[in-house]
């Protein structure tokens, strides 16, 4: 059985399959694990902000990179999960099961909305490039609605939706009596991100993943092999919505706060940028790009640098022009070529 699992993890659905890669991967995980011991709680919580965005980015890679469907408004499910968690956990304040109920509620709510919307999109044979615009319309609708819930009448139980100021005082996650804050939240994020990455990697190396990639390449050919491609696309859409929901839940637990601007136009573009710049057809590439781009945005803004947006815009244009398949992927291939040449050189 374990060999089967190892095979699933080691499969070539994602870049990096050689032994050296896996050694490097384990080293990286250890470094990330040791990081908080060396730095202030602020640095740790800052890095956990980068980590908590990874599931959303992986969801984008799964849906756009592996299944060929671009959803421009995927942050809608990030927001739905965050708000639902805030409402449930907020109303169950003091009860240690509040946060767990909130997490389940958040995941359920996002899955429900995503399910209905995905049925709406995939069963109407809409042309491929209209889907990003449809999903964007959904996000703008959600932002406009949430933005005007400022009045006192907009509350669920004791929790105010808060309109454009956002919902505040959202309780952190806790299991039993242990509350995840600062360093503990960092490790909580790490575990979830690792689980998402390895889980997705296994999924994409499995039969299911191969068929999803086939759908991206040629939907009709795949349908004639007997697969209900619309059901699979629907399933992948809901799964990536759940990943976005996981990021949403981690975000509200990190910042105890969420505003409608989380589902606005600017936030909607970020995961698309991370996936495009990293290389959407590889989970690892998107993961690395998410961390690096978030780190760059934060460093620029903490120096009061007004050029952050211009630099990100330029990075996007350069990526799409010179690295159409993504910077990290092309780098990985380049490294692959170099090592092969070195190995073959050594072998002769």
């Amino acid at each position: 059985m374990t060999s089967k699992i190892l095979h699933l993890i080691g499969g070539d659905a994602d870049i990096g399959t050689s032994k050296t890669f896996w050694i490097g991967f384990v080293i990286a995980v250890i470094l990330f694990a040791l990081y908080p011991t060396q730095v202030s709680e602020f640095r740790a919580s800052n890095v956990s902000y980068y980590l908590l965005n990874i599931p959303l980015a992986l969801g984008m890679a799964l849906l756009w990179g592996y299944c060929g469907v671009l959803s421009f408004g995927h942050v809608a499910y990030f927001g739905i999960a965050g708000y639902t968690y805030g409402i449930i956990a907020g109303n169950m304040a003091g009860n240690s099961f509040g946060p767990i109920a909130g997490v389940l509620g958040g995941l359920l709510a996002s899955a429900l909305v995503a399910g209905i919307f995905a049925y709406f999109v995939f069963y109407s044979r809409v042309r491929e490039w209209i889907i990003p615009i449809l999903t964007l319309v959904l996000t703008l609708l959600l932002e406009t609605f949430l933005g005007q819930t400022a009045g006192y009448q907009w509350r669920v139980g004791s929790v105010l939706l808060g309109g454009y100021n956002g919902m505040t005082g959202i309780p952190a996650f806790q299991i039993g009596s242990f509350v995840f804050m600062g360093y503990s939240f960092y490790y909580f994020c790490m575990v979830i991100v690792l689980a998402c990455y390895v889980g997705l990697r296994m999924l994409l190396n499995s039969k299911f993943g191969q068929v999803v990639t086939a759908i991206r390449e040629d939907p009709l050919r795949t349908e004639i092999f007997g697969y209900d491609i619309r059901a699979r696309q629907w399933l992948v859409f809901v799964l990536s919505a759940l990943l976005a929901a996981i990021s949403g839940l981690l975000y509200v637990q990190w910042g105890n706060y969420i505003t409608p601007s989380q589902v606005g136009l600017l936030s909607a573009a970020l995961p698309v940028i991370w996936a495009a710049v990293g290389g959407r057809t590889s989970l690892l590439a998107v993961l690395i790009a998410t961390i690096v781009l978030n780190w760059v945005t934060f460093t620029l803004s903490s120096q009061g640098n007004q050029y952050a947006m211009v630099i990100i815009g330029a990075a996007l244009v350069i990526t799409m022009l010179f690295f159409p398949r993504g910077i990290v992927i092309m780098l990985a291939e380049w490294i692959g070529k170099v090592t092969n040449r070195k190995n073959s050189g050594a072998a002769t």
């Binding site: 202030s40 709680e41 602020f42 640095r43 919580s45 800052n46 902000y49 703008l140 406009t144 933005g147 005007q148 400022a150 009045g151 006192y152 808060g162 309109g163 454009y164 100021n165 956002g166 505040t168 005082g169 975000y251 910042g255 105890n256 706060y257 505003t259 601007s261 989380q262 600017l266 936030s267 945005t297 934060f298 620029l300 803004s301 903490s302 120096q303 009061g304 640098n305 007004q306 952050a308 947006m309």
Partner: protein, 505 residues
């Protein structure tokens, strides 16, 4: 086609408006405004001055002030102004200068005011008012206000307590996530002595939980909807009771009781509209229409038609952001002639300079500061500003708030004799006043809010600014009505009008 709307002829000033001290008692609403009188009696917080011991060892190194504003993105037009204000204040402090002022005890201005007991008469009618640009003294009939030449004086030391002040300014990029990260960085890593940050209420609410978690001394310098009772937070911007009540009171007197409110559809717009709904009936006003417009809307054809259908005496426009300021040119183009009033216009986004006249004709704006304030101290401040930032477009209300807030922080630290945050908070609660460019500002201890020198500015057909009414010191009394006293018991929440029975009537 009847066109007898009396607002078309230039409004004839019937009686000589007599500007009063706090708020004109003439208007019969004694019960509602009982609160403001209670404030001047003062919560008699104990005099902290003597109690602050000098035993704390002065921390070495620079005094760090963390500053977050939006230098890029949609809100940069406001953020850059505030950033420059902070730089100006810090450079003055380091150059050994400070604004006059000091502890006056919690009794407020009344107790030790060496200034005119009552504000001057603002001239008889609108027509003979003029704006004095060159800084000369006003004629006796105009706005005569006994006032010293300049309020910037020698502080006796360079920096604060001999330590140089370092300003850590960062760019929030109009994005709330980045605000939270920057706040954590400034508090946990840079360990700033004082945090001055926040333009929108959304940004303030994003970082206030983090401020409370680390008990960080935090100054929020923006005009906002009011209600924040937070032991770590000091709000130096103007709030509803200082802006809505004076302007609604004046407009109803001058143009009539029928009010049409059109407000931005988010917290500030809705809460300010709630104040208007509650207060207007007290002074004989009547809200005949209300529309809340989403922030993203920029085409107002429908809203303008609804205003015309309602035929109000005047329009209360609480519109915010660049999209919504399209209302003014579009309304003017459609021939909408109703006088307008607002609390967020001209002083923040300098619409009277951005739009061609006469789209802001007969716009009345109740603000605590506007660059055109014709007093000697303000002209000196404006001159200093443009010497440091020659190509800035305008100095807004929020920029002035940030400027005097940082000076107030320096003053409080000097009184406390240390930059230890708990001590400085006690010093700020000791009933401190400061001579800001707008006029005298008093930090009211129990609510952590400031009294302000409120002026009613108006723009005429070719957008010249003049002042029709003044209230030298309106106290922040609403939180006290709700029983807030941060000196006695700690609180960390934002009250909203629904929690005050008065708004239910």
């Amino acid at each position: 086609m009847k066109n007898d709307n009396k607002s078309d002829q230039p409004a004839k000033e019937s009686t000589t408006e007599e500007a009063t001290g706090i708020v004109d008692p003439k208007i019969t609403r004694r019960t509602f405004l009982k609160g403001s009188a209670a404030v001047s009696a003062g919560a008699m917080a104990p005099m902290y001055l003597a109690g602050i011991s000098k035993s704390f060892a002065a921390k070495s190194g620079a005094v760090k002030i963390g500053h977050i504003e939006d230098l890029s993105g949609n809100l940069a037009v406001y953020g850059v102004q505030k950033d420059h204000a902070a730089q100006l204040a810090v450079s003055e402090i380091n150059a050994g200068l400070t604004l006059k002022g000091g502890p006056v005890g919690s009794g407020g201005l009344g107790a030790m005011s060496n200034h005119a007991t009552s504000a001057p008469v603002m001239g008889n009618g609108d027509k003979d008012l003029k704006v004095v640009d060159d800084g000369g003294k006003l004629s006796a009939s105009g706005m005569a206000f006994v006032e010293d030449e300049d309020v910037l004086v020698d502080s006796g030391e360079s920096g604060i307590l001999g330590r140089e002040v370092e300003l850590l300014n960062t760019d929030g990029q109009s994005n709330n996530n980045i605000w939270q990260q920057l706040t954590k960085k400034l508090i946990q890593e840079d360990k700033v002595d004082c945090l001055v940050a926040g333009f929108t209420s959304a940004e303030r609410e994003a970082i206030r939980p983090i401020v409370d978690q680390f008990k960080q001394l935090y100054i929020y310098t923006n005009q906002y909807e009011g209600g924040v009772a937070d032991s770590n937070t000091f709000c130096t911007g103007a709030i509803c009771e200082q802006q809505v009540i004076p302007v609604v009171d004046y407009m109803i007197q001058k143009f009539g009781p029928r009010v049409y409110t059109i407000a931005a559809d988010y917290n500030f717009g809705q809460l300010t509209a709630a104040w208007t709904r509650a207060f207007a009936p007290q002074v004989g006003g009547e809200i005949i229409g209300e529309e809340f417009v989403p922030l993203s809307v920029s085409d107002f054809t429908t809203s303008i038609a609804k205003v015309q259908a309602a035929k109000p005496d005047w329009v209360f426009t609480l519109l915010v952001g660049s999209n919504q300021s399209n209302y003014y040119p579009q309304a003017a183009a459609t021939g909408l002639k109703y006088p307008m009033a607002s609390t967020v216009n001209m002083a923040q986004g300098y619409e009277h300079r951005r739009f061609k006249a006469p789209s802001l004709n007969r716009m009345y704006n109740c603000v605590n500061y506007i660059e055109e304030v014709p007093t000697a101290r303000n002209r000196a401040f404006v001159k200093r500003w443009y010497k440091m930032f020659p190509d800035d477009p305008y100095i807004g209300q929020m920029a002035q708030n940030t400027y005097f807030s940082i000076h107030m922080y320096a003053k409080a630290a000097r009184i406390a004799g240390t930059t230890d945050q708990e001590e400085v908070k006690r010093a700020l609660e000791s009933g401190l006043h400061i001579e800001a460019p707008e006029g005298t500002v008093f930090m009211e201890p129990s609510t952590h809010h400031c009294s302000h020198y409120i002026r009613l500015a108006t723009a005429d057909a070719d957008h010249n600014v003049s002042f029709v009414r003044e209230w030298p010191s309106i106290q922040p009394w609403w939180l006290q009505r709700l029983g807030v006293n941060l000196v006695k018991h700690k609180e960390y929440k934002q009250y909203i009008p629904d929690e005050d029975p008065f708004f239910k009537s």
